[in-house]
Symmetry: C2
Subunit: 229 residues, 2 copies
DNA sequence: ATCTTAACGGCACTCCGTGCCACAGGGCAA
DNA sequence: TTGCCCTGTGGCACGGAGTGCCGTTAAGAT
């Protein structure tokens, strides 16, 4: 069942090799640690040559979270397939929630990755770059739908950043709490609380500042009232 | 003026060596490209040994933006030195604006770095990680000041993300426009437009949703009024 | 059975980053 | 001055990442 069996590719042989590499990488990373695991180790554990590893992944880091590209595609699909009349807030929330699926299909793997990413600096930076790509995609899609609106680009950037931040906060909380399937609804609910904080529905031109000042005064009054009780 | 002059350190010799390394790195990166410049090249251009380079920088990437740590310290200072009664919105804006100083003290260097970061994937990822650190710091400081408030952590995360996003958007726009000193005030003004989008002053307990609905109604009314003119 | 195709393994190479060590040169004390 | 300590330095060697190249080998087509 080693290399000789697999020489030359079989129809689904590539997918199998890939899975074995991912599994070997995850196992070795958690057992020995990321830095103490070489690419040779991973390849050997998967029963392939070192050179082959680099035909499946761009580098050592990619073996841990190989679904990044697919995640970006999924989000792009959500935006592309959306009905043009769907409110932007609804669309944005839906798009962000699709990312949960990618992270929660296999809670055990998610926990493993979470622990690893939290420990190893190199993986932490990679995660940051990955999140950055998601944020960029959201920003682009939102900006395209806010062209011409007042502060369209700024609101797109802010909304995208807020969405991604809220998503990650909810996800990290869920992961740190044990990544139970039963807690997933609460996790998504927590994420949805970001909705009122998004500068999306406030589309009226006149001036945001005036409305905000009014809001501040109201808040101040409410605070005084609640503070005196 | 080469190595023999500098053997053994002089009082400000270390700072001088560091400057020479940074200058050499920036020059070579822009002339030959990042990937075609080796650490040996940089060290040789600065008149030091390869080994010495790694005593001044953690790696090749650090030679381009060596001020990251200092930037984090500056922001931490702003938060630490702030008057406890300063409104959170004011504090957050002040903290974010201090980052501008770091990027705008030398517009020419900033432009150079901007072009490089936009081109080279490795530097792009590094930049993302760097931004991530800023965002984390903001999140932590804001969360500490929002403990106990409704959705405190979430609002801290969202506000931090929004601030950083708005800052970067304004900065990138300024850089892409030519990084003129004269345009700096406009750049900061653009950034400040993020203020009304921050879920910061809505501190009253009752419920965010109710206030938001009110805000929406007000906005709608304003929109109707301005749309009919 | 033969040909074509494509994935594989191995080799060699460059470069990054680090541990180790010998050395140079300034400061200090006798 | 002489000898010693201390610190920054350069050179060397090593391990590991990632890449180009090429011979090999098995699967599928004819």
């Amino acid at each position: 069942m080693t290399s000789s069996t697999r020489r030359g590719r079989s129809p689904e042989g590539r997918a199998e090799v890939r899975r074995e590499l991912v599994a070997a990488a995850a196992r070795l990373f958690t057992e020995r640690g990321y830095d103490d695991t070489t690419v040779d180790d991973i390849a050997a554990a998967a029963g392939v040559g070192r050179r082959t590893f680099f035909r499946y992944f761009r580098g050592k880091e990619d073996a841990l979270s190989p679904d990044h590209e697919r995640g970006l595609s999924r989000i792009a699909e959500v935006f592309a397939d959306a009905h043009p009349d769907e409110p932007l807030l609804s669309l944005a929330l839906r798009a962000a929630e699709t990312v949960f699926d990618l992270y929660t299909v296999d809670p055990e793997v998610a926990r493993q990755r979470f622990a690893l990413v939290g420990t190893v600096p190199a993986l932490r930076d990679r995660e940051a770059a990955s999140v950055h790509h998601y944020r960029r995609l959201f920003t682009r899609e939102l900006a395209a739908r806010l062209t011409g609106r007042p502060d369209g680009e700024l609101r797109a950037a802010v909304t995208a950043a807020a969405l991604v931040a809220a998503h990650n906060q909810a996800l990290h909380r869920w992961l740190a709490d044990g990544a139970r399937d039963a807690d997933l609804p609460a996790c998504v609910d927590h994420f949805r609380r970001v909705a009122p904080m998004l500068p999306l529905e406030v589309d009226a031109e006149p001036d945001l500042a005036e409305v905000t000042r009014r809001l501040e005064r109201a808040a101040l009054a409410l605070e005084r009232r609640s503070g005196s009780r």
